[in-house]
Each structure stands twice: as C-alpha cells, then as structure tokens.
Point group: C2
C-alpha cells in the first residue's frame, strides 16, 4: 500500500532522531510530509533540506490536514501534546506515536479521541542509536526494525491495516499486540536487563577501600564490560521508563528472580549436572535468537 | 630482572593458548623454554617452529632442569599433574600455574611441595580469547593483562619477587593477594556475571508459546544482546568453575541480590529520585572503571 491507497498527508510531530529519520525514510513514497518541532530554526532547516515538505508555526495547521499523525516525542510529552491539541484533528484522522511504553499513554488518552471520531492507535518502533537530535537522523534507521502496534477494541480494522502497511513500506517487521502485553514484553527484554545490569555494576564497583577498588578494576574484563554496558545509559531516561512501566517491571523482575533462585539452589545443592544443562539451554536458546534476529551477522 | 638475575630455565607444562603464548612471549629474553604437552606431534611442531627451545617425551626430564615451572592446564589437571610428578622437581624450584580458581588448588597441594623444598606459588593471569589450542596462540596475549599472584605464609619472599618480575617483564600488571581474596574477587567480577547473564537469558527466552517466542525474539535488541553474551560460553567450563569456587560464588551472589533488592524496593515505593541517583552512580562508577582499565579505548 503506497500513498495512493494509504495515507497521503502524514504529520510528524517532533523532529529529533526518530521523527526526522521517519521523514527521511518517507521521501519519494507519494506521501506529503507535514513536519513540526518546537524550535522554529529546526523546522526551517529541515524544510530547506527537503526532509519535510511543509511546516507551520502552529502545529494545528498541520494536524488539521493530516490523515495520519505520528507523534515522535517522549512518553510524557506525547500525552501532553495530544491533550493540548485534541480538537485540531479532523474526524476520521488516525493518530499514532513511537512511545516506548504503551499502557500509560492509552490510560491517559482513553476517552479523549474516540468521542471526536479520531482513531488513536499506539505504536512502538524499536529503533534508535545512542545519539539524539535531527542531526543524528538517517533514512535507514527503521530498516528491519520491529514495530509493535497496540490497537484497542475501538480501533478501526481498516485504519489498523493502513497503519501496518505504512510501517511495512519502510521494511520493518510489524507485530500487533495489546498495550499491556507490549509493556510486559519490553519489561522483560529491555527494562529488567537495565535494572539487572545496574545491580551487577554496583555489586562489583561499589567498594569500601581503595586497594580493593584497584583489585576489582583489574579483576573486571570483557564479560563484565558487556553485561554492565547498558548501565552507562541516561539515568533520567531510565528513571522515567521504570516509573512509566512500574507494574510490568516488577512482574518481570519476579520472573528473573525465579531463574536466578533456581540456579542458586543448584549451586547450594551441588547439582552440577543440572547447572551444566542450564548453561547449555541458555546458550542454545540465545544462539537460536541471535540467528533469527541478526541473520546476516551470524 | 631479565634471565640473568631471574629464572634461566622455565618449564611450561601444557602448550594450549595460554602455554604456547607464554612460550612465544618469552622469546629473546635469555630464558631457556622447556615445553611439554600431552600430544607428541604438538611438542615436535612447537620445537621445530622455535616456540620452545627443548622438549622431551617424559615431562620429568624438563621439570628436573627448571628453576620455574608454569603449569598451563585446567584447574583439575593442575592438581593431578602436580600430585603425579611432585618428586621430579629439584629442591629450591618454584612451581606456579595459570589456574582461574586458586583456593581449591592450594587446598589440594598443601603439604605436597613444602616438605620437598619446592615453593608452590599460585598465579592467575587474566588473559585469553574465545579460541583455544596452540594454533590460536600469539606472543602479545599477556600484554597489559592483570596477573594475580597468591602467595601463602610459606612462600619465600625472594621467589615471590622473582615470580613477580617474571610476569612483569611481559608488560603485565601484577597484584598480590591471598587465594581466598582472589577467589572472592573473580566470583564478583566474572563468575556471578555469568550466572546473572544465564538467569536473564532464560527469563527472556524460555517461553511457553511460539507466538510469544516470536514477540520476544523481536523485543530483544542491543541491550539484551550484550547482557546475555557470556551465556554463550562453554557450559562444561562454567560448570567446573562454579563447582571449584562454590563458596565465593554464593557469597558474591548475596551481594548482587542486595543491590537488586535495593533497586526493587525503590521501584515498589515509587522512589524515582533514588532510582535516578542509583543509575547515575552506576554510570559514573562504570565510566571511571572503563577509563582506568581501557585507557586507549576511552
């Protein structure tokens, strides 16, 4: 589904790494890209550079023309922007986003869009780099990225299909699932790894004496470097993510604890055959995942 | 201290990655390298290639000539080799090793060497790659590697100094500490990260249904890839390491659990300022470690 039978006018709100890359990737797809971001000089530059086809000082000028709006802002700002501008969309418009936690957005916006005939369908493309801002944007950012789309009971099947096709034309892998399942999924696959990596880093480096600190510095090698890498992420961002997904993070932590306790009990009971088997299972499952998720890298 | 005032004849037992690399790095250091490994054809090839200066069918021929012997075998085989050949060393000889767990070796060999006037001083150079065997060996393997030396009360200060200088001539960073401190250190910095990485991998990928497996496959990205990487290590090797260092691993797991529980409690109590602070501390401490341990990589 190209621009002909899909969305012809797409508003992109927020032109940082995610928004500007989305605009770049939509070039030459028969889609008019209506771009808005807070800073006027950025809007003008991206218009001049051909990253967007149209901009305006007031975002509502663009929202009123768009069949699809993709809000590329942090989670709290998505909620704020939609609440502030909800009256600007025309009836029949579809509003979506790129927020990394979905339940809190759904809860905040429930009852806001539906009475106005606007269809809000949350989405989360898992793409990004360690950089941010429009200067870090590039058109291939979404290539092969998973995109989770989280419809609710009120979502129109036709709009859902059009949103799916919209993302699929960028060579993404689209999966539909309820917002609560999505949040549990990312709690397991991303949020708990960050919490675990943090605890591991502190248990190794939070150290009483200088002599022992020096020993630990040298006792850490490649294994620690990799397991602790994501501890170097933004503290502000992770504070927000954990707050926004509290319930699912605590639930996923329980699951991690179950497996940790199981291995700990094996060690306490000298069940070394079982431990070897546990490591072999972990290696096999990780290798299967790696082969499917990163087929080119092997 | 070069060959002149240090060890002149050094026996290297086991010529895999660690042993053959050690032999290569000792070339042109006025040290006669007496090399032995189980397979005769490997001994002959390494002699022909100039990796060792002398070999023999019977390792005891070499042990009787060596002022220093470095046993480059897995932990259980170090114990077996020393027990079998203890009578072969001459009085005054120094025996060391490269085993990654030290307490179990000390316990097994206590009372074996001392009555014969042989000084056993355990060591653990933290060097290696994911490969093994003499074909993977290279002379720079030990460059900048930490080497932990674990003397006990009976170790001669003179021999200890000579062993320290022996490793330092290879541009390693030598640290002395008791065997029990060493084992607790590596439990924290290496063994517990492996156990935690395993539990994390299983909690994400050990999955009830095919549909959910597919979602989790796509829900995992770079953060999971790095934190789970060491789960792909050898199950046999890690079974042995955990068995050999059981007490310290359980103790270090307690410390990890302390930090994990602390963060979990903050989440349960909505203490998000504290969580942000915890992440900031983790990042700061990891960045300090990284700058000291890998100064060139930044």
């Amino acid at each position: 589904m190209s621009g002909e039978d899909g969305f012809k006018n797409v508003a992109i709100i927020g032109l940082g790494l995610l928004g500007a890359s989305l605009a770049m990737s939509l070039k030459n797809k028969k889609i008019r890209r209506l771009g808005w971001t807070r800073r006027a000089e950025v809007r003008q530059k991206l218009l001049t550079d051909g990253v967007i086809d149209e901009t305006a000082d007031d975002p509502e000028t663009l929202l009123s023309k768009a069949e699809l709006t993709v809000i590329c802002l942090p989670v709290q700002e998505i909620i704020r922007f939609c609440s502030e501008h909800v009256h600007a969309w025309k009836k029949g418009a579809v509003v979506s986003d790129v927020g990394s936690v979905k339940g809190i957005i759904d809860s905040a916006l429930t009852g806001l869009f539906a009475p106005r005939g606007v269809d809000f369908i949350g989405a989360h493309p898992m793409a990004g780099t360690e950089k941010s801002g429009p200067e870090a944007a590039f058109p291939e950012l979404y290539e092969n990225a998973p995109v989770f789309i989280c419809p609710d009971k009120s979502s129109s099947p036709d709009n859902l299909l059009k949103l799916r096709r919209f993302w699929e034309q960028l060579n993404t892998v689209v999966m539909e699932l309820p917002a609560s399942d999505h949040d549990m999924l990312v709690a397991r696959t991303s949020h708990v790894p960050h919490v675990v990596s943090l605890a591991l880093t502190l248990s190794v480096l939070d150290c009483p004496t200088e002599e022992e600190t020096n020993r630990r510095y040298y006792g850490c090698a490649g294994g620690f470097r990799d397991t602790s890498r994501i501890t170097s992420s933004s503290p502000q961002m992770w504070r927000q993510i954990i707050e926004q997904n509290k319930g699912a993070v605590l639930e996923a932590l329980k699951s991690f604890q179950h497996y940790l306790d199981r291995t700990k009990n094996m060690i306490e009971n000298d069940e070394y055959d079982k431990i070897e088997n546990e490591f072999a299972t972990g290696r096999r499952e990780r290798d299967l995942w790696l082969a499917k998720r990163y087929p080119k890298k092997g």
